[in-house]
């Protein structure tokens, strides 16, 4: 009796599976899920979004240009070509003809002028990238001219992954605010289909895309927040997700042996740094900072925390970006040296320091714990405090006497230029914003500003200036340059054509992909 019952249940289960399985006919649209570790976007306005929305927006909107940081070359997008005047202050972009917005409107020079001017006017998010622009002139419907106040590599600016998008004026209210969830605002290959705020965004193919479509391209793209790493791993193993990122290396080791998925390891332009508070005792003492830089267990951290997917940094500019140099000196892990320097610095045995890191980030947490155990060997107590980034930042900007001693954070580029790594983080600031080492060195400022101006005319000279500037940071031990990490992408086996571009961290350009069953 019981046996027949069991058999019955099993059979009905099987039949239900068959029914559900056959419910999808052969010509159903293809779709791909991108499983993200946090919400797919935080603001619908492409002028404002300066966060996770980079994933979604780069598939809906386009820039004038894009930058391929592996090949180190500019890719034409909405602009087919551009010229720059002798003095470097006038940039002229020749726009692509026949481009349509997803809502059917033609794309013209007016749209470029409108978008960039509005983005600059809102002064939100990453709009500062345009700060050199003085005026924008429409020469003819397919030519637009930018006048600059000072020399600046505008081609790189126009290729930025944030705040450089061209969008339709129809999606903006009279009071200049964005009309959320209006479809058809961009010229990109995908347009909005539906969204659940904070959870998922679903895009669908824009048939009239100027770039055309290859066969077997993806019809529907789902950006989904899956905060549990274990669930993301499960989704990619079963093919429920097409692509995922930010898996712990322990999972990566397992997935490498799984024939169902493809693991690709690529340089990322992200590095982990531990900024010393150079203005506050006791770390205003350079000897002490050097001692602490020697006490950091670089290799152990790389092996343990990121499973070897990365390397110890040479200075602030990460491997894979121009301006990186392995000729720069590095602090190696050497407790003896650290001890000697500690004594030289005259630090007492009761030294106690506060390190803040971003709570919720496993890598930062483990790094902090490893560092703490090394410093304990030197008799230095490291008080590690994991806090939400917002609170971490609040503390760093607050009352100077209450600020942290070491601030750990990841940094990544907005512009694909060393300037983007050196300016915000170490250029003198009257009121700190991201220079959380509170580093002040006019010579350094001069070098990197010069390098930036030189970028569009003499890139080799610029490179040298950026390298020299980093040498200063190392001599002054302004920060611990912990590691340049690699990005690990896991794609399901049916996904083809995946290319990786570190200038747009964790962005997948779905238009390039196809599905092969």
């Amino acid at each position: 009796m019981e046996k027949t019952m069991k058999l019955f249940i099993v059979l009905s289960l099987i039949s239900i599976f068959i029914i559900t399985g056959s419910a999808f006919a052969a010509d159903t649209p293809t779709f791909a899920v991108y499983a993200l570790n946090s919400e797919p976007l935080t603001n619908w306005d492409p002028a404002i979004e300066f966060s996770n929305g980079i994933h979604v927006h780069n598939n809906m909107y386009e820039q004038l240009l894009r930058y391929d940081s592996i090949e180190e070359k500019i890719i034409p997008m909405l602009a087919e070509s551009y010229t720059v005047s002798e003095d470097g202050l006038t940039w002229t972009f020749n726009l692509r003809a026949g481009v349509k917005f997803q809502n059917g409107d033609d794309f013209t020079a007016e749209d470029v002028k409108f978008s960039v001017e509005r983005t600059m006017q809102l002064a939100a998010g990453a709009s500062y990238i345009w700060s050199a622009v003085e005026s924008i002139n429409v020469v003819d419907p397919l030519t637009v001219e930018f006048k600059l106040a000072y020399k600046n590599p505008l081609d790189l600016v126009a290729a930025t992954g944030y705040a450089a998008f061209i969008y339709s004026s129809k999606c903006v209210n009279e009071d200049n605010t964005w009309i959320d969830e209006t479809p058809g605002c961009g010229t990109g290959p995908y347009m909005l289909r539906s969204a659940k705020w904070g959870d998922e965004v679903i895009l669908q193919k824009f048939d009239g895309y100027w770039g055309g479509w290859q066969e077997n391209s993806i019809d529907i793209v789902v950006f989904k927040k899956v905060s549990e790493t274990a669930t993301r791993r499960q989704m990619i193993e079963t093919g429920e997700a097409a692509i995922t990122v930010e898996l712990p290396y322990t999972d990566v080791e397992v997935l490498k042996n799984n024939p169902e998925v493809v693991v690709s390891v690529n340089p990322s332009l992200q590095n982990l740094i531990g900024m010393f508070n150079t203005q506050k005792a006791p770390l205003d003492n350079v000897k002490l900072r050097q001692a602490l830089a020697y006490a950091f267990p670089y290799q152990a951290v790389i092996d343990t925390v990121i499973g070897g997917y990365g390397q110890q940094s040479y200075g602030m500019v990460p491997a894979g970006l121009w301006g990186w140099s392995d000729q720069l000196p590095r602090y190696e892990y050497d407790l003896e040296k650290a001890k000697a320097l500690l004594e030289e610095a005259g630090a007492g045995s009761d030294l106690s320091l506060v390190l803040t890191y971003t709570a919720g980030n496993e890598a930062e947490k483990s790094t902090a714990e490893l560092y703490k155990s090394e410093l304990a060997k030197l008799g230095v107590n490291l008080d590690i405090r994991g806090m939400p980034w917002d609170s971490q930042w609040e503390m760093a900007l607050g009352d100077p006497s209450q600020r942290q001693d070491i601030l750990m954070m990841y940094w990544w580029p907005d512009l694909p230029s060393p300037y983007s790594f050196l300016y915000s983080t170490f250029h003198s600031e009257d009121e700190p914003l991201f220079n959380l080492a509170y580093y002040k060195n006019p010579e350094f400022d001069q070098l990197i500003d010069g390098g930036n101006e030189m970028t569009s005319s003499d890139i080799e000279a610029a490179k040298q200036m950026f390298i020299d500037a980093q040498k200063m940071l190392l001599d002054d031990a302004a920060s611990i340059f912990m590691y340049d990490r690699q990005d690990i992408w896991v794609t399901y086996k049916t996904i083809q054509g995946f290319k990786f571009n570190p200038a747009y961290p964790t962005v997948v350009f779905f238009h390039e992909l196809t599905v092969q069953n």
Binding site: A230, D251, T304, K372, R385, M387
Partner: protein
């Protein structure tokens, strides 16, 4: 009357009650086992630095070369992502859990008991106000108030203790009040009132000591529930902060690794489960012992 004799007189009923309780509990096998385990947990908490094979791993040491190893004769419960011995960390976790739970319950008693004695001793408006106050506090779904308070105070073990105490005290106020109301009518309180003893003195030197006994017994058995609450707060990121080896936090950190390292989540969870369970078992027994309807001796 000296302070010390008054103290002795005050705790006398408590001691008597405890003796009776333990006598009764001792008759049930399950409860006897639970008491042995509780004793064991207390010993572990006290002697953790001596018993733990790698006491340093529970404080600040790391051991990255042995990361995420499965249980073995070297590491009984395996190791975590930084190569720390989970067995040692869980042993130290006993200490943290018991201490924080004791502090939280103690603080809740400190707030709740006097209020209960006042409510029961004074009656009238004071009683009404205090009891409505407990209604309000108890009308939050359990844990929720603690979540709100500790997130506003900032995440730390100390703030979690405070948050739990603030959301827990009304239970004790209610119990004490119930007792106080009946004691108020007893002979010796009436006598004290008749000779003109001031009301506050009656409440704090007659009513409170006489009601304290059952509530302390009750409270000590709430420790299980409190440990669970602390672990939950830590799991949400609102309690203990790394590298403190608090059990809930251990489980929370294990989430990233548990598909490959089953031991990492499993053992801290078992530790919580056993600890909470033995306290609950004893608590259940005590409720039965204290309940006059089911008390049989």
């Amino acid at each position: 009357m000296t302070q010390s004799t008054s103290f002795l007189r005050a705790v006398q009923p408590a001691v008597r009650e405890l003796k009776v309780t333990f006598f009764l509990l001792n008759r049930n096998l399950l409860q006897r086992i639970s008491m042995v385990i509780i004793l064991l947990l207390i010993l572990i908490a006290i002697f953790a630095p001596v018993i733990a094979p790698y006491p340093g791993h529970a404080i600040s040491d790391t051991n990255p070369k042995d990361k995420l190893l499965p249980p073995s004769s070297q590491y009984f419960f395996g190791t975590d992502e930084l190569g720390r011995d989970l067995f040692s960390r869980i042993l130290f976790g006993t200490r943290i859990s018991l201490r924080t739970a004791l502090l939280a319950v103690g603080l809740a008693l400190l707030i709740g008991a006097p209020l209960g004695a006042i409510a029961g001793g004074l009656g009238g408006i004071a009683d009404e106000i205090i009891m409505r106050l407990t209604d309000i506090f108890l009308s939050f779904p359990p844990l929720l108030l603690a979540i709100a308070i500790s997130s506003f105070l900032g995440p730390s073990l100390e703030n979690a203790i405070l948050a739990i105490a603030i959301s827990w005290w009304p239970w004790y106020t209610r119990i004490i009040r119930g007792q106080a109301v009946s004691i108020r009518e007893r002979q010796f309180v009436r006598a004290a009132r008749a000779i003109g003893t001031p009301l506050p003195k009656i409440i704090f030197s007659h009513i409170l000591p006489n009601t304290l006994a059952p509530v302390i017994v009750q409270a000590s058995m709430d420790i299980g529930g409190v440990i669970l609450t602390i672990a939950s707060l830590s799991f949400l990121g609102l309690g203990a902060q790394p590298p403190i080896p608090e059990w809930g936090l251990l489980i929370s950190s294990s989430r990233t690794y548990f598909l490959n390292a089953w031991w990492y989540s499993t053992f801290p969870g078992i530790a919580i489960f056993i600890t909470v369970m033995v306290f609950n078992l004893i608590g259940d027994g005590i409720r039965e012992v204290l309940d006059p309807r089911t008390r049989k001796f």
